[in-house]
């Protein structure tokens, strides 16, 4: 054991000897304060130099009292804890999530979200005493590092409490259908304004960058009913469209047909009038000619007509007034009756 212990002692002695020889000083007593001085210097330097990152701002406290802020860069302060530099990330935009939490990023670059156990945060009463599931985010920035540090202890808690309270107030003044559909942008805008108002009243140096609504849904149990309303809207539109299609199918056709029948009638009218005028003028012409020698013309017309008629007939029977009992001939019309008759007619 002793052998083990002696070994390092010799080493240290040897190292010190080498050091003192190199520094050119014979005794070690003069050399100790020099080391202490160097250490002190280094320590002083380290405790008075600090850097401020580009996204930050440093608040300088002297014995706990605020003396000023410093922009990004290399700065000096009083050493040994007289001055303290508290760095505040004033340029960074921070985010708070309500009703859901982001759970890191998956490999594809997409974020994973969870709403597990957070329904109490997102369930919100609407003005018509219905319930909606509202998820939203608030992005904010530290606008005043001094106020941020010294005016309140729990900035995030304040922000979260206020944002929830304000959003519920805004949603509370709207009916559920507005909240779920057209009211989204308006709600976010109003929540932004009111939250900032309250924060300004607290004067805690926070500036709201944006308030955005994420998923806004009816609660799980009533979702089918809400979907049914949407389906009903579709059906309504469909019914109306269907009827309008039917209208468009029937009415223009009927209009066309009506016009056609009128045109037909007009055609008929023209024809009737023209024909009558034609007939009339023909008659007048014939009459004029007839009047020159009525009797002859009359007989001629009669004979010509009869000639044409009788010549056309299938069967012509001539019966002399003196002949009686002819009736049997007509009992069977299919039998050729009185074959001599046509000849006689000729």
């Amino acid at each position: 054991m002793e052998q083990w212990g002696d070994q390092p002692k010799d080493d240290i002695r040897e190292l010190l000897n080498v050091l003192s020889r190199k520094l050119g000083a014979g005794d070690g007593a003069r050399f100790i304060p020099a080391i202490a001085g160097v250490v002190l210097l280094v320590f002083t330097l380290f405790s008075s130099i600090y850097t401020v990152e580009p996204s930050e701002e440093a608040v300088i406290l002297r014995f706990g009292k605020f003396v000023g802020t410093q922009p990004p860069g290399l700065h000096f302060k009083l050493p040994f804890g007289v001055d303290r530099a508290v760095k505040v990330k004033t340029k960074v935009i921070l985010q708070q999530e309500f009703g859901f939490r982001t759970q890191g990023r998956a490999t594809g670059g997409r974020s994973d979200y969870t709403t597990q156990g957070l329904t109490a945060e997102s369930l919100t009463l609407t003005g018509d005493l219905n319930v909606a599931n509202v998820e939203w985010i608030v992005q904010y920035q530290i606008a005043d590092a001094k106020k941020y540090l010294f005016n309140t202890r729990e900035v995030t808690t304040n922000l979260r409490d206020i944002s929830q309270s304000v959003l519920r107030r805004v949603v509370g003044d709207r009916v559920v259908t507005d909240v779920l559909t057209v009211g989204r942008a308006e709600i976010a805008e109003e929540a932004h304004r009111l939250t900032q108002e309250v924060l300004d009243r607290y004067d805690i140096g926070i500036r709201i960058v944006t308030v955005k609504l994420q998923d806004v849904n009816p609660p799980e149990k009533v979702r089918p009913a809400f979907n049914d309303v949407n389906a009903a809207k579709q059906e309504q539109e469909q019914a109306i469209n269907h009827a309008e299609r039917e209208y468009n199918r029937v009415i223009p056709e009927a209009r066309g047909k009506a016009e056609k029948s009128i045109s037909d009638a007009q055609g008929y009218a023209t024809a009737v009038v023209n024909r009558s005028e034609g007939d009339a003028s023909a008659f007048r012409a014939v009459l004029e000619a007839y009047r020159i020698s009525p009797s002859v013309t009359r007989t001629r017309l009669y004979l010509e007509t009869m000639e044409e008629l009788y010549g056309r007939f299938k069967e012509l029977t001539i019966v002399d007034t003196g002949v009686k009992g002819l009736l049997p001939i007509f009992q069977n019309p299919s039998q050729p009756a009185a074959p001599a008759a046509p000849e006689a007619a000729r």
């Binding site: 014995f63 809400f226 009788y310």
Partner: protein
């Protein structure tokens, strides 16, 4: 080392110790009360380096910043007997450190008082009002509904778009959410002043239905939606029927109007023809009858005709004479 330098070193150390014991700093976020043997003698509000009597005086630091109070969610029945959970938060600060140290001593002590007072004040305020007063802040919904109703009466809304409007009756409010917070603050402020505590703000963070009530609320929501869906569907069917009716009406109108025109045109033409014929034939009706009769014979008697002709006929006159 000499004896003198040893004494000097000891004195120096003693002096340093004395300074350490009497100097103290107060941060920008702090306020301090100096007590002498437990008796408060001074109150320090300014940040920076301060001195006190060593050993006999003690510094008790308190936060100067705005602090948070988070209440347990309370189950409170409202005036209209609805069971809800109310979750309140408050912001407060130590406004009178001396009084604070005397009465509640620590922040934990303060929180106990806050719990007691804020819980009871919240409970009183909520249960003295209807549920809507805690949910809504204004009567904006009612105004909006009225506007829409007016627009609907004027017929400015598209047909079939009015379906989702009035859903159950919406009661007007008389107090409102913010005013309720105001009442709570007012009452709590009075009670907490004697503890050196100032209430900055009370916010109703969350108002939710009690779990047992929730199921019923959901049932109501479902039936409400079903009613709305029904209405939308029936409005759709109604619109459809209206259009179908319009089809029938327009069809009848178009067809009857066409018929009327057709008849009028045809009748006028016929009348004109009749007049024309009459004017022409009137010149010699007897001749017209003769000519027209012959023409009619020619046209109506076809080739199939069987004719029995008596020799009395004028046509056979010559035949008979023979």
């Amino acid at each position: 080392m000499t004896r003198r330098s040893a004494i000097f070193a000891a004195l120096l150390a003693a002096a340093a110790f004395l300074v350490m014991a009497s100097a103290y700093t107060v941060g920008e976020w702090e306020q301090a009360v100096i007590t002498q043997f437990g008796r408060p003698v001074a109150q320090v509000n300014k940040a920076g380096l301060h001195f006190k009597l060593p050993f006999v005086q003690r510094v008790r630091r308190l936060d100067k910043r705005m602090l948070n109070w988070d209440g347990d969610p309370n189950q409170i029945p409202t005036k209209d007997k609805k069971y809800i959970q109310v979750d309140t938060t408050a912001r407060w600060r130590i406004s009178d450190p001396l009084l604070f140290i005397q009465t509640v001593q620590t922040e934990d002590g303060a929180r106990l008082r806050l719990d007691g007072i804020l819980d009871s004040v919240t409970r009183d305020t909520i249960s003295n009002n209807n549920l809507v007063e805690a949910v809504r802040n204004s009567n904006a919904i009612l105004t909006k509904m009225k506007d829409r109703l007016k627009a609907q009466e004027k017929g400015e809304l598209e047909p079939g778009r009015e379906e989702e409007e009035v859903v159950g009756e919406i009661d007007p409010i008389f107090v409102g959410r913010e005013a309720l917070s105001g009442i709570i603050i007012e009452r709590a402020r009075a009670g907490l002043k004697e503890f050196g505590i100032e209430i900055v703000d009370v916010q109703l963070r969350r108002i939710a239905y009690e779990e047992s009530v929730e199921a019923k609320v959901y049932e109501r929501m479902i039936s409400e939606r079903q009613r709305i869906a029904q209405k939308i569907r029936s409005v759709g069917k109604g619109e459809q029927a209206k259009i179908e009716g319009k089809i029938a009406k327009d069809l009848q109108q178009i067809e009857s109007e066409a018929y009327r025109s057709v008849q009028r045109i045809k009748g006028a033409a016929d009348a004109k023809a009749i007049r024309t014929y009459a004017a022409a034939m009137g010149a010699d009706p007897e001749f017209y009858t003769f000519v027209r009769t012959l023409e009619a014979y020619r046209k109506s008697l076809g080739a199939d005709t069987r004719l029995i002709l008596s020799t009395d006929s004028k046509f056979l006159e010559l035949l008979r004479k023979r």
